[in-house]
Amino acid sequence: MNQAISASPAYEAPKVSDRLAKNAMRNVSERLIEFLLFSAAAVSVLTTVGIVYVLVSESIHFFQNVSIVDFLTDNQWTPLFDDAHYGIMVLISGTLVSSIVALAVAIPMGTIIAIYLSEFANAKVREIAKPVLELLGGIPTIVFGYFALLIVTPLLQNIFPMLPGFSLLSAGLVMGIMIVPYIASLSEDAMRAVPMSMREGAFAMGSTKLYTALHVVVPAAFSGLAASYILGISRAVGETMILAVAAGMQPNLTWNPMEPAATITSYIVQVALGDLPHGSIGYQTIFAAGLTLLLITLAFNILGQWLRRRFREAY
Amino acid sequence: MNESVHLSKQFDEDLTGLRTHVLEMGGLVEAQARAAIHAYASGDTAAVKDIVENDYRVNGFEKIIDEETIHVVAKRQPTASDLRLVMGITKIVTDLERIGDEAKKIAKGARRVHEHGQLTLPRATDVRHVADEAIAMLHQALDSFARLDVVKAAEVIHADTKVDTEFKALVRQLITYMMEDPRTITTAIDIVWICRSVERIGDHAKNVAEHVIYIAEGRDIRHAGKEA
């Protein structure tokens, strides 16, 4: 056949039909590997199925005893009392108030830090600040809980003397501080990913740094920013330990951050710490609460994905 | 040739400019040749000075067109029909310039002939007749270039044989005159040169036509059929 091939010493040209036929052994092993890898990927689906199964099946038991209407409209949450009420709004209010406080701190601060780092800071500042921010993102939440309870609350009490020992405000503020690094770091990544050529284009038109940042870089990185905000929201809503430690565990239907209140997550912790028998209605309440939490985070997540698709990076 | 326009208008303008210049040069050369023959045939040698002087315009055209050509090649990297056009033009221009030279020679010859005042031999109309044919060939060749008309170009090539034959007849006739009256020899020789120039004009016109066929079709038909 080909001269170039037969000319090379170590090569014996095999028969074409042999060479081009499918190699059976190779196919089998390739298929097997693919199957194993697929199984691993399937585990994540199983996890979701498990979550949904556990939450829904226990919640079904729960809703056999408590009507959904009561669950959504009752303004008391006293599942462990004799006069049991199951008004989830009580827990949701705590969750929302603490989250709003947190985000009111985290989103502006995180964004400003991100813009500063990405557009203003020189390379040295960025090289130090960025890893430190990422480090902060790793601090365990229980430590923040400790911080909220033992440092921030006393501090706040100096300003607002009527502030109780447990409050949504101090928990929320600390939660906000906790979320800042996430938002700052992710937003900064998104803005860094905007090609330099885009900035050069803006500067070449004679614009200033801030104008470039706000009118060119931020719009270009918008989907990344949105993603970081959504992640921040999810964090805030799902955060447990800071609230369990610093916001108190008293179910309290309130929109006032100066009061203590339980959130969905801190309620679950509270129940888990006690010793409720498997199968009791009290045991089932945590699954109903968990399901509610899951639905809320899911909603934000879907919103986030929609935003991301809507404002896909266009550069 | 290719009716669509280039992406680059400038390129189109360059090519159009080139072709226009070639046609202008052709027109000038044709006029020179016509005037030269007229000067010879009519004996009105007043125009000779103009013709000789106008030759610098022909030469100028040659230089300008060659420069434009090389600029187009350097700046536009022409290919296919554009390339054939440009390369064909460099060849055509050489032929046109030679025709200009021949016209000048005819004019100078005419002056010499008429200064001697001997125009009995051979009848100027005979020369004029052949010259008209050669100039017609030139005219038609330029026409075929303007329209890249292959059929017309082929006619020019065909016509050259006739001019050649008539040229030989004229020279034979002149030799007869010379033998009959040796005093006419000087003048006759001048007329021989004029005839020769006329014949050359026909040859160059034929060359132009051959280049036109190359430009239009990419076939190089020079020397075809002449040799093995």
Binding site: R26, E30, I33, E34, L37, F38, A40, A41, V43, S44, T47, G50, I51, L55, M109, I112, I113, I115, Y116, L117, F120, A121, A129, P131, E134, L135, L136, G137, G138, I139, P140, T141, I142, V143, F144, Y146, F147, L150, I151, A184, G206, T208, L231, S234, G238, T240, M241, A244, V245, T265, I268, V269, A272, I286, F287, G290, L294, T297, L298, N301 | -
Partner: protein
């Protein structure tokens, strides 16, 4: 059209530059606030807990008396749980990442897996606790053991490992893949010779960040009902106890506690003496987490420079 005069342009520029300076000041302020808060936190914990940070603190079990309490069972428990977590999450996560990037065809199954993983990453950790409570603790009967806790945290960090694996793989240009396939390599050969080695730094970083996250997780472990007061260690394999020789894997079924739970326990005690313990333990936990994160960040910056395309 009127042209702006030089003076007009200069005043526009001056205004723009003023805004720049104001924003710069605000930016520095925010950054400093963020960093200061953390410094304050670490400093405060260190100051409060410094007295308790002795060797005894690490070798004592928890006790009713604050001064004698230690974190022995907590740190041992943490390490064992992490071991289980890593063992479960790393192979699964990496394999899943490879499958999704290298093998998966674009069809509805893949689509579901994809959506699923993005959503799992956003599920609050406490929900994993509930899952584990329902499945591992009760349905599988693992009880409130190291195994249950390890698997829970493994599921929790699985999305992190998968996502970082995928990102690491995605950073490998398609042309490397095509280059390999074009000389006749199979898909698995391509993965083994190229994709996995080149993605390794990224995968490693993801794994460490995931484990650092898992170390600090409290809520899911509380939910499965980890004990807060443990005055013994899980059985060492092949060691002899009163109930006979322990098997190789007996420890995985042992009750346990972990660092965050110990801290939580101490913070919720009314006796302020335990706050000192909490501070000390918090400092230790933070040191563990931060050093892991620092390692991951260092790895990423370091190894990223080594591979060029």
């Amino acid at each position: 059209m009127k042209a702006l005069t030089t003076e007009q342009i200069r005043s526009v520029i001056a205004r723009g530059k003023l805004k720049d300076s104001i924003f710069q000041a605000v930016g520095i302020f925010c950054l400093v606030v963020g960093l200061l808060v953390i410094l304050l936190l670490v400093g405060d914990m260190l100051l409060r807990g410094i007295d308790r940070l002795s060797l005894d603190f690490f070798t004592n079990f928890a006790s009713r008396r604050a001064a004698q309490s230690g974190i022995l069972s907590a740190w041992v428990g943490t390490i064992l749980v992490m071991f289980v977590t890593a063992l479960a999450a790393v192979p699964l996560g990496v394999a899943a990442g490879i499958y999704l990037e290298e093998y998966a065809r674009r069809n509805w199954v893949t689509e579901i897996i994809e959506i699923n993983i993005t959503n799992l990453a956003a599920v609050p950790s406490i929900v994993y606790g509930l899952l584990s409570l329902g499945i591992f603790v009760y349905a599988f009967g693992f009880g409130q053991s190291i195994l249950s806790a390890g698997l829970t945290l493994a599921l929790l960090i699985l999305p992190i490992v998968i996502v970082s694996t995928r990102e690491a793989i995605r950073a490998i240009p398609a042309m490397i893949r095509e280059g390999s396939m074009a000389v006749g390599a199979t898909r698995w050969q391509t993965c083994r010779y190229h994709i996995i080695p080149y993605a390794m730094p990224g995968i490693l970083t993801g794994v460490i960040i995931g484990l650092a996250r898992a170390i600090g997780e409290t809520a899911p472990i509380i939910t499965i009902g980890a004990l807060t007061f443990i005055a013994f260690l899980p059985p060492v394999p092949f060691s002899t106890t009163g109930e006979g020789t322990a098997g190789l894997f007996d420890w995985v079924m042992s009750p346990f506690t972990v660092m965050p739970i110990q801290i939580f326990n101490w913070t919720s005690r009314p006796d302020p003496a335990f706050e000192v313990n909490a501070a000390a333990a918090g400092f230790v936990l933070m040191a563990m987490v931060l050093s892991m994160n620092a390692l991951a960040i260092w790895l990423r910056y370091r190894l990223r420079k080594n591979i060029k395309w």
